[in-house]
């Protein structure tokens, strides 16, 4: 028996929608084994996760709070990956954005009305700048951007920690965390008596903007063309270098914005654990979304729900909270496999033995 793949002319719509769900389901079933291994009942563990992530107003708000940075880092990965620029540096770019936001948010001289917009702008600029570095290094010095952005994640993380244990060290507590931003720099809360803040709106607007970018503009078309076939794009007169730089900086800007959201809406300061791996989750989100901006939102909400749910589930059942990471990783791999079925039809042939 041998399997062969035949290219599909077009995949039915139901398949496009069903495959991410199937990938996620497969991942959760596989991880059910881990839950059982940890001595808990997978079904009830997942029930707890579902309830604590989506079971009420507060829970949903918490999930959306977590989803906001994941939407933004997911969009960051979408923009970069569509240009085939492997920006794995959303983690570092997010931290840079967070630092920039704190820098602005702690300035005593700025008028109140300008604080939030300036924080957003500063974090966008910081993220874009951090992503421009690997893009320029790739173009001018041929430095592999995957390795470069991975290294930059650590460089930025340690730079931030140096800042926290040096100039920004809290003189009172001595903890390695930054001073708090001004009260009037804090993001408005959208839903009374929850932590749901402006960030989720920003993320939704960003998703819409990225969707329009790829659907309607020549810039988005150019990014797609460069990603799919840079030689053809170059021969057709597109400025390949500039398009990659723009894609990289847009990607970095989105990740930086996520940092502003965490500072302005959740922590009000920078601390070493501010990111919780949102940069890497962005890769999972983008893949689950099949690099489509509209898919980023459900994918990010799903991952956020897993993360929020795993916390509570861990508290109640003793299953380690890292289950959430494993689910993310396996969901990513399952989705990659599922993509094969969208592009190809699998044909099974039975061959008589010779």
């Amino acid at each position: 028996m041998r399997f062969s793949l035949e290219p599909r002319v077009s995949a039915p719509i139901w398949l496009n929608l069903a495959l991410p769900v199937a990938a996620v389901a497969a991942s959760m079933i596989l991880c059910g084994g881990l839950i059982a291994l940890a001595g808990a009942n997978p079904v009830s563990a997942y029930a707890i996760m579902l309830k604590s992530a989506l079971g009420g107003r507060n829970q949903i708000a918490e999930t959306l709070v977590k989803a906001a940075p994941m939407i933004l880092t997911g969009l960051a990965a979408v923009v970069a990956f569509r240009a085939k620029f492997w920006n794995i540096g959303a983690e570092g770019q997010l931290l840079a954005g967070a630092m920039a936001a704190v820098f602005i948010g702690t300035q005593p001289g700025l008028p109140t009305w300008s604080l939030v917009p300036l924080m957003l702008l500063a974090s966008i600029a910081a993220g874009a700048l951090c992503a421009a570095v690997p893009a320029l290094l790739k173009q001018e010095l041929k430095v592999d951007e995957t390795i470069c952005t991975l290294l930059l994640n650590f460089i930025i993380l340690y730079a931030m920690m140096a800042l926290l244990s040096g100039p920004w060290k809290d003189p009172v507590s001595g903890w390695a965390d930054s001073p708090n931003i001004r009260m009037d720099a804090e993001f408005p809360i959208l839903l009374h008596r929850t932590r749901l803040h402006l960030g989720i709106l920003l993320a939704a607007v960003a998703a819409a903007a990225v969707w329009i970018l790829f659907k309607k503009t020549t810039l988005g078309f150019g990014i797609d063309a460069v990603g799919e076939n840079p030689r053809a794009a170059m021969h057709a007169g597109l400025n390949v270098k500039r398009l990659i730089l723009v894609a990289a900086m847009t990607s970095g800007a989105l990740a930086g914005l996520a940092g502003a959201g965490e500072v302005g809406g959740v922590q009000y300061q920078v601390l070493a654990s501010i990111s919780q791996g949102y940069g890497y989750s962005g890769l999972v989100v983008a893949t689950l979304a099949r690099l489509h901006p509209a898919g980023v939102i459900p994918a990010a909400v799903f991952l956020a729900a897993i993360t929020v749910g795993a916390d509570e589930m861990s508290r109640q059942t003793g299953v380690p909270v890292y289950l959430a990471d494993v689910i993310q990783g396996i969901a990513l791999l399952c989705m990659l496999i599922a993509l094969i079925f969208i592009r190809y039809r699998v044909r099974i042939r039975v061959r008589a033995a010779a």
Binding site: T146, C148, F154, A162, G166, G329, L336
Partner: protein, 313 residues
């Protein structure tokens, strides 16, 4: 120059070699898969998961060599899994590799927490002791630096010429290189590209497993969540700096073992009063600077990152 005195001691060079070994094993492992045309971005996760596997075996049995074997085996299995994803299924190597890292790292932490729980002092084991080679270790300066090392270190350094010989002078090595340069040539010559790449990935995983074993059976005596701490990513860069050749890769690993040893010395010496994270940043920053200097002049294997399907049209 008190700093220089501090640095140029036997202890510094011994530490340099000790810290170079995991980098060396990881770099050789990565080089194996890249020479066959596969970027193994799972490296960080594979090292982590095989490290915890080895640690568990050592913790349960007290047998360190059994632990080393377990690490290597887990690494090999993970190499096999990577093979299914990127060779058989032809998935994108960058994203699939990162998926492997996310999964393996998560799994390692999960297992660690599951076995040892959250609380108290981290569990520890009796780690490997150095073996002073008779006579050789008596040579002044060179002896204690080079010939008073762990058994795994000796093994790692012996692997370098062995790898070079394998790639250059054996049919298997030639097939591997051909699969990484031009898979169609390999296929036309009757070499199974898939088998060759699977083999390379399994060797690659086993070596990464050894790197993980060395980290918590020799360098540290316990497993911690930050054990690998980006060393896998540095190995990726070292392969580039070593121009995908075993000997230069080994030199690059030694050099960065030195950077790490230096970083630790400076951190503990207290000579320079800057926040400690700056020291932690050093290896990454220097790696990046080195990448900036050499990347223009090196050439990756021609078929790196390109999946190979016979019937593609």
């Amino acid at each position: 120059m008190a700093i220089l005195d501090q640095i140029l001691q036997i202890g510094f060079f011994a530490a340099m070699i000790r810290l170079a070994v995991p980098l060396l094993l990881g770099t050789l492992g990565e080089m194996f898969s890249e020479r066959a045309g596969i970027l193994n971005l799972g490296i960080e996760g594979i090292i982590t998961l095989s490290a915890i596997a080895g640690f568990l075996v050592a913790y349960q049995t007290g047998n360190l060599w059994l632990a080393v074997l377990a690490s290597a085996l887990v690494g090999m299995v993970l190499g096999l899994v990577t093979g299914v994803l990127v060779v058989t299924l032809g998935l994108d190597q960058t994203v699939a590799g990162l998926g492997m890292t996310i999964t393996c790292t998560g799994l390692a932490y999960f297992i660690y927490k599951l076995v040892f729980g959250a609380g108290g002092t981290p569990p520890s084991i009796e780690p490997f002791k150095t073996i002073a080679l008779p006579f050789l270790s008596d040579i002044p300066f060179v002896g204690p630096v080079l010939f008073d090392q762990y058994a795994l270190s000796y093994l790692a350094f012996i692997l370098v010429p062995l790898t070079a010989f394998y790639l250059r002078h054996t049919p298997g090595g030639l097939s591997l290189r051909t699969a990484g340069e031009n898979p169609l040539t390999a296929a036309s010559a009757g070499v199974s590209v898939a088998k060759t790449r699977y083999k390379a990935l399994m060797i690659s995983g086993a070596l990464m497993g050894l790197a993980g074993a060395f980290l918590n059976l020799a360098v540290f005596n316990s497993f911690s969540l930050g054990l690998v701490a980006g060393r896998g990513w540095i190995c990726l860069a070292l392969v580039v700096l070593g121009r995908w050749r075993p000997l230069p890769c080994a030199l690059a690993a030694l050099l960065f073992g030195g950077v790490e040893a230096l970083q630790l010395r400076l951190q503990s010496s207290g000579f320079i009063d800057i926040p400690y994270p700056v020291f932690l940043m050093m290896p990454f920053l220097i790696t990046l600077i080195a990448m900036m200097m050499v990347s223009r002049r090196v050439h990756a294997p021609a078929a790196l990152l390109k999946p190979f399907h016979k019937e593609e049209r």
